[in-house]
Symmetry: C2
Subunit: 232 residues, 2 copies
DNA sequence: TCAAAAGTGTTGCGCCTACACCCATGA
DNA sequence: TCATGGGTGTAGGCGCAACACTTTTGA
């Protein structure tokens, strides 16, 4: 009974805090792809005058009736038409002046997609895959977001079989190693890499060989299907 | 020149998206403490009718002119009067209906504080330290937030010397081990624990002994000062 | 036959776990 | 002298890094 004193309904609480509903929430997606032995990220030309000439990550405001995670899937789907992909939340960036349009707090996600398996929905915004290594500056705090996500990705691929999202279904161990080298940005020892991967037991030997290569063909592998839970 | 076509100022962009500024952003702080060989968390009685009788984490809406991280420091300061503490962002929870007052997206932080080194600012909301082990249910999605933060803490203390935030300045190795056992929720081998800690070189031997213990006194240690960067 | 990459093992090191005994102190 | 915890070392296993030679294929 005495406890009743301080209780208020949610509706009452909301009305007393209306002035706080002035912050927009967005998601920014670091969409990684892999092509020509390079890790790439999907960028778009910023359409803000303040960032004229700079590229930015793909992002959008979260809709009032949309889960935060769903918003990141929507962004991805809108741009790549993919909807069953690896996508992971990493960090939320909330500096007051990070966005010139007003107060926008943004949750960063990264995603791994196969560049060959989809067509970009290219509009007139210069959407393109950009090699991660060359990126010096992006609009907003997107360079920091990119760096943070790349750091997370580096930790992730050591422990989880997520690399299949970036590759075609069949691949040689060399191709897989080149992918790892591109992500880690360092050369790896071939024998040790093969041992480590074998030990993890992520791969299935397809008993097929590379074809049309100008050298001794390598065996082809694929990732074990049960490991490939997308959307998480 | 041609590029000018699609550019718009930030002000224009904001006006075209006003309907999205309807989501509130909050921070929820999992404030961990350590007392009586138990890991505890600071809880408050929920003041929402929808959650009558349940406890919740400490949180607050982020102010329009306040950095996200600063909001979490403010919440901590308001409740514990501490302002130079370990605080780390973990995850952002954004389900549509996670808050009955409306659309509130919440970024979760956890913090490590010394229960003895401050006085709680206790108001009439039944603010108290609650053993983590006994918690079954909390208001909102706060149980999930707690679990997520605890999992992160477990990883953190293995790699970083953050435990000093929970202990008094001087402590015995046994006390440190008991803290680790409380956090990991499992017994640890004494010899192996000491070896591991010694190897990490986090501690300074104070050449002092425990006093007033009913058994052989142990040596006292403290954490190396340079390691103790608070606020990350 | 050459160029290019495939494929393969061993050694040493550091870290981890499991495990048992004697020592110092206060009651 | 007893109860309580302090303090210590070793052995086996595992993962990791460093490192070189032979084989297969296409050109």
């Amino acid at each position: 009974m005495a406890k009743k004193l301080n209780l208020k309904t949610a509706a009452v609480e909301k009305s007393s805090h209306l002035e706080y509903f002035k912050i927009a929430v967005s998601v920014d997606c670091v969409i990684f792809g892999y092509e020509d032995k390079e890790l790439k990220v999907l960028l778009i030309k910023s359409d803000l005058k303040e960032f004229a000439g700079l590229y930015s990550l793909l992002g959008d405001l979260v809709r009032p009736d949309e889960d935060l995670n769903e918003a990141s899937y929507r962004v991805l789907k809108e741009r790549t038409d993919l909807d069953d992909v690896f996508l992971q939340q990493v960090h939320t960036f909330g500096a007051v002046h990070r966005h010139p349009s007003g107060r926008v707090i943004s949750t960063a996600y990264y995603s791994l997609v196969n560049i060959n398996s989809h067509k970009l929905k290219i509009d007139n915004n210069d959407l393109h895959w950009h090699p991660v290594k060359n990126i010096q500056k992006l609009a907003f705090d997107h360079k920091e977001i990119l760096d943070t996500c790349l750091e997370h990705l580096r930790g992730k691929i050591e422990e989880y079989p997520v690399a299949h999202n970036l590759l075609d279904e069949k691949f040689s161990l060399r191709a897989l190693q080149e992918l790892y080298e591109a992500i880690m940005n360092e050369p790896l020892d071939r024998r040790n890499f093969r041992k480590k991967i074998t030990l993890k037991n992520w791969l299935i030997d397809l008993n097929e060989m590379e074809e049309n290569v100008p050298h001794r063909p390598g065996k082809l592998y694929k990732f074990r299907p049960r490991l490939m839970k997308s959307r998480k």
